[in-house]
Subunit: 526 residues, 2 copies
Amino acid sequence: MKKTKVVIVGGGFGGMFTAKKLQKLCRGNIDIELISKINYFVFQPLLPEVAAGTLNPQDAITPLRTLLKGVHVRLAEVTGVDFEAKQVILMQGQKKLLQRVDYDHLVITTGQIANLSLFPGFEHHSLTMKDLSDAYRLRNHVIECMEMADVTRFADIKERALTFVVAGAGFSGVETMGELTEMIERILPQYPNIQRAEIRLVMIQLDKRVLPELPEHLSEYTLKQLQKRGVDVWLNTGIRSATQQAVYTNDGRSLNTRTIITTIGNGPSAFIKSLPITLERGRIPVSRELQVQKLENVWAIGDAALIPLNADADKPLYAPPTAQFAQAQAETLAENIVKCMYGRPLTPFHFKPAGIMASLGGNRGAAEVYGMRVTGLLAWIIWRTAYIGMLPGFSTKVRVAIDWLLDLFMRRTIAYLGDSDRPATRYMDFSTGEVVQQANEVPAGFYVVLSGSVQQDMQTSSGENKQYTLKAGDSWGSKALKEGRLTHGKITALEDTRLLLVQREDFQRLRGAFEPLNELLATRER
Amino acid sequence: MKKTKVVIVGGGFGGMFTAKKLQKLCRGNIDIELISKINYFVFQPLLPEVAAGTLNPQDAITPLRTLLKGVHVRLAEVTGVDFEAKQVILMQGQKKLLQRVDYDHLVITTGQIANLSLFPGFEHHSLTMKDLSDAYRLRNHVIECMEMADVTRFADIKERALTFVVAGAGFSGVETMGELTEMIERILPQYPNIQRAEIRLVMIQLDKRVLPELPEHLSEYTLKQLQKRGVDVWLNTGIRSATQQAVYTNDGRSLNTRTIITTIGNGPSAFIKSLPITLERGRIPVSRELQVQKLENVWAIGDAALIPLNADADKPLYAPPTAQFAQAQAETLAENIVKCMYGRPLTPFHFKPAGIMASLGGNRGAAEVYGMRVTGLLAWIIWRTAYIGMLPGFSTKVRVAIDWLLDLFMRRTIAYLGDSDRPATRYMDFSTGEVVQQANEVPAGFYVVLSGSVQQDMQTSSGENKQYTLKAGDSWGSKALKEGRLTHGKITALEDTRLLLVQREDFQRLRGAFEPLNELLATRER
């Protein structure tokens, strides 16, 4: 008899635990394939600790193959589903060849992606906390800011480098700010030219309190803890836009900063949007049994799915997008697939979490466990103990425990591992009056104006001052790069402006290989 | 009285230990500034262990600020020296502003860089083992190869993915191959579709023996150990060239591979070449007292310097470029700077190392210590103990010891952290007949032919087969990207060919922003 083939798309909490549970329920009777873009499972609640250097990056993750022995793990990107043929379409390997994989049951659990399109400039100028590379990037970025602030002679550069903004004060935002504050305090003594008073930590929250998911009393405690440690919390404030140099709020305030960490704004991924399913609130609507309507043997859980918790059509209640819920959904889902195979009735999803908790950094926490409210050191210990228990895989548990132990008596490392993953092309936003480039800088690369306009102030060889306006489609920078000299002109944004920067090394390679581009540029730049 | 200002360029073994010793000799009387491109010290001998996943990347490095309290550490890139004005010229910070730093004494200890220009294609298609990012990249690359080999349906892709080549069998080469072999053996059980027999490990060595720095008896032992563990060692063989798909040797052999690790070929950096000093053997010649001739108060040590060990002009003997020697030179150099300050006579450099040793992976080593030759487990234990002792900083020692301890009883992680630092533009070499692109692939980006030529086999919409030849300056790929479709044509190299690839995402951004480029391409591609 042919084994039932279950294909799971996504290797997060939902996908990983579905595979684990399915295997436990019917080892051998079932063929499980898990398709993931990354070959490891990320324990997202620990990402702020990775960002702060408490945990080694590799210790917040566990390889899927190690966790799921016997499950076929495929490193590939799913691009679509052929529901008629019951096939998943994916792209894999060096050559990115398209391939089809058959399924009897399909589980969609790809989560959501950061969607910052509501806030102009945030997509290009803020850091998110979604996966391991985000945490790693943030850590490096903060150290880069400290190094830069330590050597610069310019007050405005120092101010921008030492202002750290977190947008959103939910769990992820509060924990990130807590860990960030502790990290900065611990590494500060190694930077002789930086005073604590020069560092500014600001948290921007639309709601009237931090951690609105927790009871009011714990929100107040958390707010006081943050303020005590020097964090400026702006409540009832929304973010409006961000540029290369600043963040702007909806009540007209602004902060000069190079560090904006966004923990709000989620949306469906391109894959989810491409499915022939009508999304609700950006999610795939499923039945209480976790099945996608009108499709045969298709299931969805986790952040990608909209899961009703009650049967009341007037006052619908949906499962919150948390790791705890995704894990519980995976259990129900695996059981329902097996029931489905044997023609038994399915069970609706039901879950009541044991508790809810946040780490605030600095050995402080806030928690509500079995109805009791706990704060301070005790809550923080509960938090750490609970997470050690939840971590999958023995070796990850040991490594995290050792990291935490070492962190108690060792200095935090400030190794700056470079921002080698800075892309070759990037979009940059500027507001009216912001300076894009000074004269006599090493040119950053080739700039194209996408929208808005900038003013170029130049001095001609005869010493005359000239001003030019560059509009959408205009470009600059290629001439200075070609002649191997510093920038001549100062460039200032005349209005809200978006630019594309092609980093100098990549631009030089392209122009060196492709002469027609050179000829084109020669006629277009001053 | 103004303090004497010593500026040290480079934060490797030479620079770091010079700063440390100088500070010890005259705390307070001297102003020490160390300028480094990275803010941490790399313990290079441990890089193969990072590549193999035994050590956490952060544990093979120590932040310079932590090691050198009281020393001014500046994260910047030195671009030149004004010996007249006694100033170092550097580029630092976000804006890459040029700045000058005064010195009374200048110490140049920037090491060497990998120079693969003698071997065509190696620069673009081989991995080196110079710094932390190299080790990190190699580890990721090997796991990527395993993941790819596990899912591919194509025998040639599998063969290339599972062939691992190390060029050079000195310390770095042998230790890298030893660790690589152990890593692959330990992670292999997690890849059900890969058999041990499909994996090929090849070491290419120009000399007639491996580890020529060690006595013959230890070389033989090392060779046998490598062979016992399935490594194919090609002695008396030089590398000739490399392409995207293969490596070629000077005796006409070749291997299909995507993994070539080069541990040979060093040369002066651009900074060293830019100095008004006549280099010898690619190094800065110095006196036995470590002073650069004809320049006042300029010193050089480490791999960047050519340091005579005797006074015999006929049979000159020079210091080997090893970490042990650099560290010893730093001691002499610091003492000589102080002697110079007080007008005392300088001491010539003299050093006799206590021992020499190599780790072969798999708990085996080879060593000669105080004239005794040791092999096997004992040599390996000596190796690890000695390195724990040499590691700078208490916290690094503890972390490395814990990593080693955990490695004894824990599974090696196979988390694949992605190759996010793959540059947006890259050069690719192909030999006659090698296939650059198949039809019906997801296009990788925009290609330009730099030299050589390729054949494009296409089918027209009427089903007719057409062949075109693309030569230097010709390009393809932009049309498929624009239309969002798969590649139409198969592309094959007609001769030795070099291409530039602009990765698709970056290319799409540039063309989206810069309409003239689009117009240009519309007239140039089929």
